[in-house]
Amino acid sequence: MILHTDKKVAAMHESKAQAGAISQTINYGFSSTISTFERQPKLELATSLREARYPYFFEGRLEEAHMFARCLLSLAKVVETRFYIPPNLLQRLLSERDPVITSGAGALRFEGFSACASAYCRVDLLPPAYDGEIIEKGTTNVDFNPQMKAALAATLQSESLEIGVGKDEFVLKKGNEKTVEKKVKLPLRWLKSFVEVQAYQKQMEKRLTVSKVEALNFLRNLPSNANNQTVFFIVPAGRGLRLSQTVQSRPSANGAIATPIQIGGLKRLQLLKDLVPLIKQSQACALTVYSSPDGLASEWQIDMKEGLRFSLTMTSQPFRGFSGEGRVLENLTEIEEEKLALLRSALQWRQFLSEESLQQSCNMNHDALQNALAALGSRGLVGFDLSSNSYFHRELPFDLSLVESMHPRLKAAHKLVATDGVKVLPSLESRKEIQLEVRGSDVTHLVTGYEESWRCTCQWFSKYQGTRGLCKHILAAKLSQAQKESQELEEEEVQIEQLP
């Protein structure tokens, strides 16, 4: 098993956090390629693993490789695309990044983000889809180069494909091959997105299911000239889907009114257009759409065939990267390291971590587990699989402990608390809410908390009303409250100790 400590990971990648980006050197044993092996095409995926005990991370064989190849190509397209270019970014276009692969407990998951972090893509390869064995457990980068992508594109429908994910054996075969070294600047937003996306996925629920024909009809009719800024609503139309500009909150199956799914930047959805015609699995439920209750993020899942799934998770607008959402920030204010360690030890590279089993094994209640999982998610240790509604264990090959300390809002909140920027106001007896004054950039903000609901007078909160996580003022207020409570607890303990 590959379990990297944070120190090891940091040393391995010579990560250095800079303003907005982490410079990272990734060493691949060779270039990923499709070669011919015993008259069969063989996909050799290079990884940046160094500590693997076995020559291959995974070795197996896929029937109908065409579908898998197209899925990987779509994934590659996502990670190399920037769906939104901020006006001030002129020349600083970022290098392509390679996706990461996670293996363990029979599943192989390839995942990656678009450069703008507004789209997250994952290809899940589960046992029925392949014939082979996952030898090593772990998470690592995989080399996606243009030559390999071109070869993937040429994979034929009738072909089967041998897959090898690993390093050493190929190097042995081609002893004089040069190691491939890629230097990439990983933007912090990309890394933070790994943290946020699982928080979003956890909240999502199944909203729509359509057949292959209807899915294709919908995707083919997507306008190519849609303005990136315009948000469309996805609404059912007969047995299919259509775009709408009218908010029509319709009752769902259980009678509850569901906010329609919102999507801007339709180019992201068009990625699915090439995959839908290839679907083999269940013609009637070819495309499943999940969304968060507020409709602001959605996941579009295609079951290509049994055991091969393609998922595209998107924010409502391409300029809203997952990184900036901050839904996990609230949980990060309440981390208990002991519980984290306990939970981490229970992960065991399992690909389906159900909440119930974790609650039992770690002896935690729902809230504590949620906080702990969010904290683990923020360190890249868990992802979420919507189709099985469970977390899965992965350890991202980046030093994500840096990321946690670089959340601008959380960082600013800590600073506010440290510099006495939070002042608790005397609460009125008639009101059960607590009020705090928190220093803003040019005005003092009023933060009001009542039970679990918090409000602030700042621009961020006014604009998003909590849908993009808490503002720095509320976070500071919560941190300050937590500090106060722990101080009071300590004082109580001291008093108890002093009792005769």
Partner: protein, 873 residues
Amino acid sequence: MSSYPEPEIEQFFLTATAAQIKKQRLNWEYSKSLTFEVAKKMQPEALQIAVDGLSGNDPFFVKEVITFIDAGLCRQPPQEVYVQGIIRLHQYNKDETLTFLKKYRFLVENDLWLLFQFEGGQELSLAAYDKFSRDGHRWEDILDILSQEGVMPRAKMLKASLEALNRGFIQFRASWFSRFHERLKPSPAERIELLDDYLSLLASPVPPTVSFALAALNEIEKAKLKPLEAERLFPNIQPALMAASKTTAQGALALIEKAAAREPQMRPQALQIAASALSHQNTDVQKSLLKFMKANQALIAVDPALQNAIKENLDFVSPALQKDFAALAGAQTAVAKSEGKAAASNAAALENAAEKISVEDISIEYLAADSLSYHQGEAIATIGDAQTWLESTLAFIEAPFDVVQAERIIQAVALGRVQALHNINGASAGSTSEAKTAKPLIKRLQKLIERRVQRYEYGAPFWVLTFLLHFLGGAEIANAVDYFNKFSQVKIGKETTLDGADIFKGRLLSILLRLTEGQSLDPLKAETTGGFTNIDAIIDNLKQLPAKADYVCAASIEKLQPYLVLARLPWTEHEKLLSRLQIEKLKAPLALELENALAVMLAVERKYQSADGLERDMLVVKELAQDSSCPFAALTKAIKQPTYSIETLDLTAFTMPTLSAFFFDEGAKECKRIVKWSEVSDLSKAAYFHPLAKGLAPYSERAHFLLTVGLLQSMPELRALTCDCLVDAIDRQSLQTQIIGAKLGLLLYSDISMPKRAATLLEEVARTSPLHNEAVRQILQFSLDRCQFEANEKSDGDKALPRDLAAILELYLNCSIRANKPVESPVCRAFLEGLSGTKKSSAKSQGANDTKSTKTVKGGKAKEIAKDLLALT
């Protein structure tokens, strides 16, 4: 001014170690000083570092680098940088570049081939460079000459250009290589040598590359030197069949057919591969496939796998072809099933069928409801307490402009519900939570106003911000009129015509003025989310006014006030309001003005009493608008006022909901202009559809006109809104298919004819449900009725038939098949007969007009579909 080479820099290069050079920021000044003489004297390691660094920073340094490499002083710099340098090496004149390249053997033998390996980037690539080079002096010219002269082997160049296409470059950059390959004019024999490369390109994710490869294969086929073997073709051809381009897919199908004809034993495989074209979106491709399959019917009959493949994909096939494909696969379509049921004479079978009959089997009829009325929306709840108002306002100013929320916030101020917050900025009670919340709000308002002033955005949202700031006491000028005037004066020009935002501004200013006078009322208040008011509310408001006292109002809207009140009251209520006013005998000046305004309006209304309800409204508005002395004309001018502000248009519709017919008429004109002149798409036009999309305005004749123009739009936002309105109107049975159909027929023959766009959108509507399908079928039938009329009226030879009319006909055919209905209208039938040419003889007897319509017979596809339509029973 410094001269180059600079001695100091030369000295640096001669003395510095490799590590020191690495640390130095090497800019273009350094590249000028690193001459051949200096390079010769440098340590090889240090020179290499300098060359690598300078090549990255100065792309024009490549010429020196080449001389160094030639002399064996250094190696190539990192490849991507070097290749970019080579591209830039050619500047204006191909002869100069050719002379330079030929001077260095290693360049033409090795390094120039790197051009075929690197894609380049956004700034620099072969495609981008050649795009801005002059004719005859592009890189493609240079490489072509080198190949013609035999300096660079032609065969290798042909191969390299194909390999480049297989490297996953983006479309723009890949296209350079396909263009270059064709420029070299490969002979059939050379193409045969490259067959495998062409075949592998069929799977390219770049559509033009697939078309290019297919064209090359066709060239091989045409040359007949060596036939394309099915064994090599079939495993590779499938991606081309799925290409979005109809020509590519049909080309691929043709290649399969030819190969299968040459090698009959491969026909089963050919059919299996060709079956994937069943899901092709273009009906013509499906038709070609059907033809191929019909020719091999016998093979399909004995191949269950193929039959299954057809059955599985039947839903993809156009309804017009489903029956034929189903027959091939031995399956029954939904349509065939219902036909079968109808034909069954056996009583038991009929009983059984009746039991199993599904909703889709019932023949759906669409009938529009007769009565059309305004739906006024929900009642607007005014905000009651200060803290809620503050929090709502904080959120409102950050969100896009919502007229209803704006109304709630304004009403709370106007009616004195948040009087405690008036001038709170200057108040001493700064310790209350309201004051603490108001402070950030005031700060934010100031910032937003400043930003809008900088951007020159003086629309409706701006006036709300200034109103709020002034109310809270955060404005620098205490007098509201002066404060508002400060911004009004900087508006471009001094138009005397008010627009929706100006009327809104007048209302806001009036509220502020009234607050200072202690008048907590607003006669222009909207009672519902549709912007409507009612008689009781008007009377209550008037009762609150002091008798015979003047109510405070901004000068800009003083005369308009009674008409603005009436613009919120449905036309049918005018008589009632007048009699109520006469009964109540109110003394307020506004009451008297209202009575006068009603008298003027009712006089015109009575004139058009016999006209249809909503049509009458339009006629009344048009007549009143012509009297420039009547303040009402200012309202119609406000609707006509051109604007690019979606908020202003939304507000105009909200302020004058009963003038919606006039508003839609204006909207249709604006939208027509976008289609006709291909103007830059303007999102504000979406606001014309909003009252319909929200279900607030009735589907009057003018609303139908707006929706018909909406069908022809290309802007996705407008198309989605049009679709929303149509789907919803059909659901509520408020859509008059005859009106929209006639207007569509008219527009198809106009200068904004866009049959394809209309067909695509109507198809989306038709897919919603059988009821929607039937409504769309009716629309199309009525549109073809109108086409018959237009063809007779406007025919001027071959130009008479609208281009792409086949798209409308095809959709009509599909809807008719789904609804299981023939062409019902005799006029439509006559038009189709004219199109299909079946009515030529009878046309002559009907006179000159009909003869004209027969002249319009043009376009094979339309003719074919017309025949299919006429054959429906």
